[in-house]
Symmetry: C2
Subunit: 162 residues, 2 copies
């Protein structure tokens, strides 16, 4: 699930717009992963130990859970992230569905197609896992972005908040 | 996660409207579980071996995955089902979200509040797992039903079909 740039030299010597899309690593806590998530949903700081514990829990799901990040090849900082959870069902002859979650692009890196690259990689991962569809929920403001990524409007998302 | 009826005698001696909400069991393949799912999403028959394998995969997720069924106490047949998948996130300080999936009530058992009972039990399970919210996707025709279960309309669900 790693997408490399056409040329490593181009990635390193470019204008700062070269990004590597790759799975999240434990070391990403020091590359701005939490700052990025904070732009999606502001939260009090997360202790490194809690990050590490959650990372391990998700790793135990194997290829049924994937977090991808976009790393700026010039600075080593993360500029985007997104997650995919594979749900195993009984319907559709024990079908699988991919759930795209928590897609975010750093405010300073928007407009470069990074979000779309992350989403398309997540979709390809779901395809590789044998999912018959990929779904996500978004605000009406974002439907245009996801349409560009290949999604169509389908249903209503409802929520119950504790 | 078992909800028992107020009185076993009432359940057994009633008018056939007494149901037990309980977790799915392997033996449910012979109690109409697949017929029920077929009403949700028609599919070619599923082999017992495939059902058993998927059941075991889901059991490995522990309390992060739950399928509930409503069993007719008089006939032993299943009249409703629904599933909950707990997603572990990094956002919201490593928060958890419950996803309600594949809720179905047998055509002959509708109008008895079974769907609502199953959904409310799934929601309670999510609460017990520490989820900060429960979400689901449905058609516009079903928003009224889920509003009755405590859900509010929130976002747009989009899908990409392979």
């Amino acid at each position: 699930m790693e997408q490399t740039l056409p040329s490593a030299a181009a990635a390193a010597g470019g204008d700062g717009e070269a990004y590597l899309i790759r799975p999240l690593e434990l070391a990403d806590i020091s590359k701005g992963f939490l700052d990025l998530l904070n732009q999606l949903s502001p939260s009090p700081p997360l202790a490194e130990e809690a990050f590490r514990a959650r990372f391990e829990e998700l790793a135990a799901l194997g290829a049924d859970h994937l977090v991808l990040v976009a790393e700026d090849a010039a600075t080593g900082r993360l500029a985007a992230a997104g997650a995919l959870l594979v749900e195993r069902k009984f319907i559709r002859r024990c079908g699988r569905v991919g759930h795209v979650e928590d897609v975010v692009v750093d405010a300073a890196a928007r407009g470069r197609g990074l979000g779309e690259r992350v989403v398309r990689c997540l979709v390809e991962h779901a395809r590789g896992r044998g999912c018959y569809k990929v779904i996500l929920n978004c605000t009406t403001e974002l439907t245009g972005f996801y349409a560009k990524c290949g999604f169509v409007e389908k249903n209503v998302q409802m929520g119950l908040y504790f």
